[in-house]
């Protein structure tokens, strides 16, 4: 067991960090303040393969392993979590299910433009009455002669305001049980598809999270992803992968908050000493660092497990549970160490603090992660 990052992963990290610090960092605070999605930055990221992280090079992607994928999201989120979110969601739940479950024709039709960042992907499951409980989904898809007609409203769709391709989780009105759900690939141009208002959120404000409306939205038969009735399986697979991305995002936020707190604590003086001389602050810093390191190990282990194949659901759930909790506690302490300044918009830790919370909510709440972990523990043959 080697716990040292290999040279490849170091180079991936440095490559992303350099881009993120130079091209995104200077704008992160103002993007958050203005709630603006930076198309100009996305256009720079496309040719650098950020939107096809695990897509094979033959389809225009980077062909990275999953640890590298996690590192990319972590480093982007360390600088701008809203963009980390965009890239994570696009890659893990927008694009990956098409690669995994799509027909050759679907892959050829959707993947190259998505991998190039020309088309942004999204995934929508959550509705007014369905979130953690996928069984409550009310968006219906009715089979017609030449395709499907979808009706329903999805809410809190990450990338919703800018997505070109969205995977829609819908049920077949006529049937019952888990096999009544399907995932459809809906394109922006499909008739009956429209985007709602951009949500006014606590954090991740540069990401155009929105509702999506499907009003007699007609899509061709060739846009059904996977086999009929495979919806739940596709959805759960997507979420297993998505969790790694969100865990990485949470870790990136925590890392940024920790670095800010550490550097502030070294510089800020009270009672004629830098804050780092005070044991209370030392304890905070030690707790923060330990929490980050342990979460990071869980995350990379889950990522490695995904590449090995087999079931990594429980591991990715543990990683997400741990990383998002770390993000919460670390950003909280980072604000505390900054004192009044930490509560001010002038300081980045205020943004990190707002951003961290949602990592415990989306891509499965922490409570759902515990369900997944517990189910794994209980059903696993002993």
């Amino acid at each position: 067991m080697d716990f040292n990052p290999c040279m490849k992963h170091q180079v991936v990290r440095k490559t992303v960090r350099e881009f993120a610090e130079n091209e995104i960092g200077p704008h992160a605070a103002s993007l958050d303040r203005e709630g603006r999605f930076p198309t100009e930055i996305i256009e720079k990221m496309g040719p650098l393969n950020y939107f096809g992280l695990q897509v094979p090079p033959s389809l225009g992607g980077a062909g990275l392993d999953t640890i590298s994928y996690a590192i990319v999201i972590e480093e982007l989120s360390r600088v701008c979590a809203a963009l980390g979110l965009c890239v994570s969601v696009h890659n893990s739940v927008g694009l990956y299910p098409i690669l995994r479950f799509g027909t050759d024709e679907q892959i050829a039709r959707f993947v190259p433009d998505m991998a190039a960042g020309k088309h942004i992907g999204a995934f929508c499951l959550t509705e007014a009455n369905a979130g953690s409980d996928a069984g409550g989904v009310e968006t219906v898809a009715i089979k017609t002669d030449d395709g499907y007609t979808i009706n329903g409203t999805k809410i809190f769709v990450t990338n919703g305001g800018v997505c070109d391709v969205v995977l829609v989780f819908a049920v077949d009105a006529g049937s019952q049980g888990p096999s009544r759900s399907n995932v459809f690939i809906v394109e922006k141009k499909c008739p009956g598809f429209s985007v709602g208002e951009i949500e006014d959120l606590c954090g991740m404000r540069a990401n155009p999270v929105s509702s999506l409306f499907f009003e007699n939205c007609r899509i061709p038969e060739t846009n059904l992803l996977g086999k009929p009735g495979q919806g739940l399986k596709i959805g759960l697979t997507a979420l297993d992968t998505g969790r790694i991305g969100i865990a990485a995002q949470a870790l990136g936020i925590a890392q940024a908050a920790f670095e800010a707190a550490l550097s502030y604590a070294k510089e800020r003086r009270q009672f004629n000493s830098p804050l780092t001389k005070f044991q209370t602050i030392q304890n905070y810093l030690a707790d923060m660092a330990t929490s980050i390191e342990s979460s990071r190990l869980l995350l990379y282990r889950a990522a490695a497990a995904k590449d090995k194949g087999g079931d990594f659901g429980a591991q990715s759930a543990m990683a997400k549970l741990s990383c998002s909790a770390t993000a919460r506690t670390v950003t909280d302490l980072a604000v505390q160490i900054h004192g009044g300044y930490g509560y001010s918009r002038e300081y980045d830790v205020e943004r990190y603090f707002r951003e961290a919370k949602v990592t415990q909510i989306y891509e499965g709440t922490s409570e759902v992660q515990k369900m997944v972990i517990a189910r794994h523990l209980i059903t696993r043959p002993s």
């Binding site: 720079k44 090079p57 980077a62 062909g63």
Partner: protein, 281 residues
């Protein structure tokens, strides 16, 4: 050398990451993060210059191969992977304990020896004008001497015609256009180009099929008792911290008094930063 092929060697150096530069001027301590390396920014521009020539060559159906060459500890291999990620065709790491501690004279000797032994058809050598860590600006010109290549320093732009290299530079307040026939050596000034970012596909590719050659002292047929540290003509006597020498000095009194004191005691520092010699009185 085939007429339609040009081999470019770009010398790059791994330097400590500046953002982590481990010096606290007040406490006078060096910190461990020195180990965190990055590609020297000027070297990065030399590589960029090479990659632009490579691209221009493709348009003219000219095969231009770019080899990134570095000398350093084994971990310096990382900058070669970065170079390949960015588009270099190959990377070469010269590494051996015997090479450690080389000054610019011996560094240029070792680099030159590699090029003469393994890349005798090299048409162009590119270096950063000065690296961010030592800033001597010496290795480039000395390597040119070693290879007996004509050389131009501080280039802000380079253009390649069939056998001639045209270089633009701004030095000592003169904007110059210079030409030389190849083979030759050019050092690239900071700010000459905006370097490209590595794409992640390039990074994955660089590791999928590694193109790094590692060369030690034996392969360079260096003398058995070669020792760069011992053989370097200069020797560091000692190193001290500028800050620990002096305390924060407090000046009090009327404006005229403190200004006079400032110039009497620190005028030299100010004049040096201005690049002007101030009158004493």
């Amino acid at each position: 050398m085939e007429n339609n092929t040009l081999d470019i060697i770009v010398c790059i150096k791994q330097v400590p990451m500046v953002s982590e530069l481990p010096w606290n001027s007040k406490t006078g301590t060096l910190k461990r993060e020195l180990a965190q390396g990055m590609m020297d920014p000027a070297s990065r521009l030399a590589l960029e210059a090479g990659l632009r020539l490579q691209r221009a060559g493709q348009l003219e159906d000219r095969r231009i191969r770019v080899t990134a060459l570095t000398m350093g500890p084994p971990m310096a291999e990382e900058v070669l992977h970065q170079a390949v990620s960015l588009g270099a065709d190959h990377g070469v790491l010269l590494t051996d304990r015997k090479m450690a501690g080389a000054d610019t004279n011996l560094t240029s000797f070792i680099l030159g020896r590699y090029i003469r032994m393994f890349k005798p058809d090299t048409g162009l050598v590119l270096c950063g004008a000065q690296t961010s860590d030592s800033e001597t600006a010496q290795v480039g010109p000395q390597l040119a001497c070693e290879l007996d290549f004509p050389a131009i320093g501080w280039a802000s732009d380079i253009r390649l015609t069939q056998r001639t290299l045209v270089v633009t530079r701004l030095v000592d307040d003169f904007m110059e256009t210079l030409e030389m026939d190849l083979p030759g050596l050019v050092t690239i000034e900071l700010g000459a180009f905006v370097p490209r970012y590595a794409g992640l596909a390039g990074v994955a590719q660089a590791f999928a099929s590694p193109k790094i050659d590692v060369v030690d002292a034996d392969r360079l047929e260096l003398d058995r008792d070669f020792n760069a540290l011992k053989d370097s003509p200069t020797r560091i006597l000692d190193v001290f911290s500028p800050a620990t020498q002096k305390e924060s000095r407090v000046l009090k009194g009327a404006a005229k008094t403190v200004v006079d004191k400032l110039f009497t005691d620190y005028g030299k520092i100010i004049s040096s930063a201005m690049g002007k010699d101030l009158k004493k009185k």
